[in-house]
Symmetry: C2
Subunit: 324 residues, 2 copies
């Protein structure tokens, strides 16, 4: 397969992105090609500095770069020659099978929707985070920032998206999907979670197991935890800080090591017609490498196709409800 | 002063509440009286079991008990002889200066509002949590569950309430008030935080220092962090779980020890015309003792009076805005 990486994106780009691509190259078979999008001179210089052979990569020159602080929609439309814009053109034309980047998250989201489109029926694409469980398993938290304001039907769809992701990429059978809430009982919560619970409680679209609370994020009571992008982002950044704080305080064990976001590297944008991975702005070379490798897993799992099938089923069921 | 405690409230009541009251008794001067509300036989039995002299307490018999799972408004109106209801009657008549309890939080909130009323101008009373900073200081997070759905003006008022609490109970001069958000920049957030930022940014009612993120909860960048009760409850329960998890994993240091909620014991309900403290359902005797001692601090600080003065000023300023 062909995997693209935005070399210009991220706080430590291009050093971290070039290094990450070189390390991913070493782990992938020759049948996989890595496309580097960015300033050609910078890329060649970076490869030379690490004594990597440029022939191992497809280098796609991009004159412009979208900065971390730029307005996503404006940047995508005003910078057609940026590394992100060119990457998405390649994705749209199937010259690459997956596009990855640690740059401007909003621009990666907007670029995805403009180039390969949202899957029919998906109200809002979203992003996830992998949360290590204390018992060694992993859980999926979504959304973690793409959709700060959610409606109940949007959260319901996150249940479908997260369940498919856990099933096909993390090989979890019949994933347990929970709703992040401020109490275990059905009637607890804010207006959003109270309404969402009512939508989810008898669903056959996924295996709903009820509410979980902030204390349950590391417990193995659910495989997928659904929340609005505001709460999810607060929870995720808190978890990441625990990891850093424990390192600072000199504490380490197998579980605490797994709190390190670098291990997971990135998240697919769920609900679009292709494989697009985004990573933290602060991504290191290790995080970038892992994002590229995860892109392959997501592509191989045919996740977009699985979501398209599920959403067709979802639309069909809603239409039947309306006409009955 | 006279401090009341609901002996029947909490997962470990009456053992933990009686024990906590006995220990608080030892630390308070004789001029402070502790009123125990609950079943007289149970209380006398509990005191005897710990070899405590009943003469050291005012025992107020209550025939009924409000359970943890009962509907707050219904329970308060249908159980006038419950320990919570009688406690609030004593508070209303100034027979006690503060009422404390670890029972049904909703019933404690409703009881407060019914008996001593919300301070004029306060839209929604709220509850707080003390969050230890990594550098040894403490911060205040509010709301942590009383108001799961907030409007921007409600969050704005939490800024006033939290600032006064930090100033007069924790002796923090000119407390730095921040808004919990998913980005540092003004335009980041959900609709609620975006609007709240605009209300707060030029305020003279408190010292607003901008947005903080989930990673900043333990950093000393703000003394007071304002959020809706949904996000705040998720964040708080996550913090408490970190504390328990680190103990489980065998890690301990001065900071981690301070994550133990027992140290802080309880929170005042901010925005009502008296001192009412509530604590975790899982409160131990230590937590109960600390809640009773904190009730004294809150009462001595004349926090309700300070809030009344600030709210009168707030209403006055809003009226001037409208008429100008």
């Amino acid at each position: 397969m062909n995997i693209g990486i935005d070399i210009m994106g991220g706080d430590f780009a291009p050093a971290a992105t070039i290094s990450g691509a070189i390390n991913a190259r070493k782990e992938l078979p020759k049948s996989d090609h890595i496309f580097l999008f960015g300033d050609k001179d910078i890329i060649l210089e970076g490869l030379a500095a690490e004594k990597a052979d440029p022939a191992g990569f497809e280098i796609i020159h991009a004159e412009e770069t979208i900065g971390m602080g730029e307005h996503p929609t404006k940047a995508i439309s005003q910078k057609p020659n940026s590394s992100i814009s060119i990457g998405f053109k390649f994705l749209k034309k199937n010259k690459i099978d997956a596009f990855t980047g640690a740059g401007n998250t909003g621009a990666m989201l907007v670029g995805s929707i403009f180039s390969v489109n949202t899957i029919q029926g998906v109200i809002r694409p979203c992003i996830t985070s992998t949360i290590p469980k204390e018992n060694g398993n992993v859980g999926i938290l979504l959304d973690v920032g793409a959709v700060p304001d959610c409606r109940p039907d949007v959260l319901y769809q996150f249940g479908i998206l997260g369940s498919l992701y856990a099933q096909y990429v993390y090989n979890i059978k019949n994933p347990r999907v929970a709703l992040l809430n401020i109490g275990e009982e059905e009637e607890k919560g804010n207006l959003l979670t109270q309404s969402t619970y009512r939508l989810m409680k008898d669903t056959k679209d996924f295996n709903f197991v009820g509410n979980v609370e902030g204390r349950d994020l590391f417990a193995d009571t659910a495989d997928v935890i659904v929340c609005d992008g505001f709460s999810g982002n607060i929870a995720l950044k808190q978890i990441e800080e625990i990891g850093r704080m424990m390192i600072r305080r000199g504490f380490s064990d197998n579980f605490l090591k797994r709190l390190n976001y670098e291990l997971y590297g990135g998240t697919p944008i769920l609900g679009i017609n292709s494989t697009v991975m985004i990573a933290h702005g602060i991504s290191s070379a290790t995080a970038i490498k892992n994002m590229i490798l995860l892109a392959k897993d997501v592509h191989k799992a045919k996740l977009s196709k699985k979501i398209r099938t599920a959403m067709a089923h979802y639309i069909n069921a809603r239409e039947k409800e309306i006409s009955s």
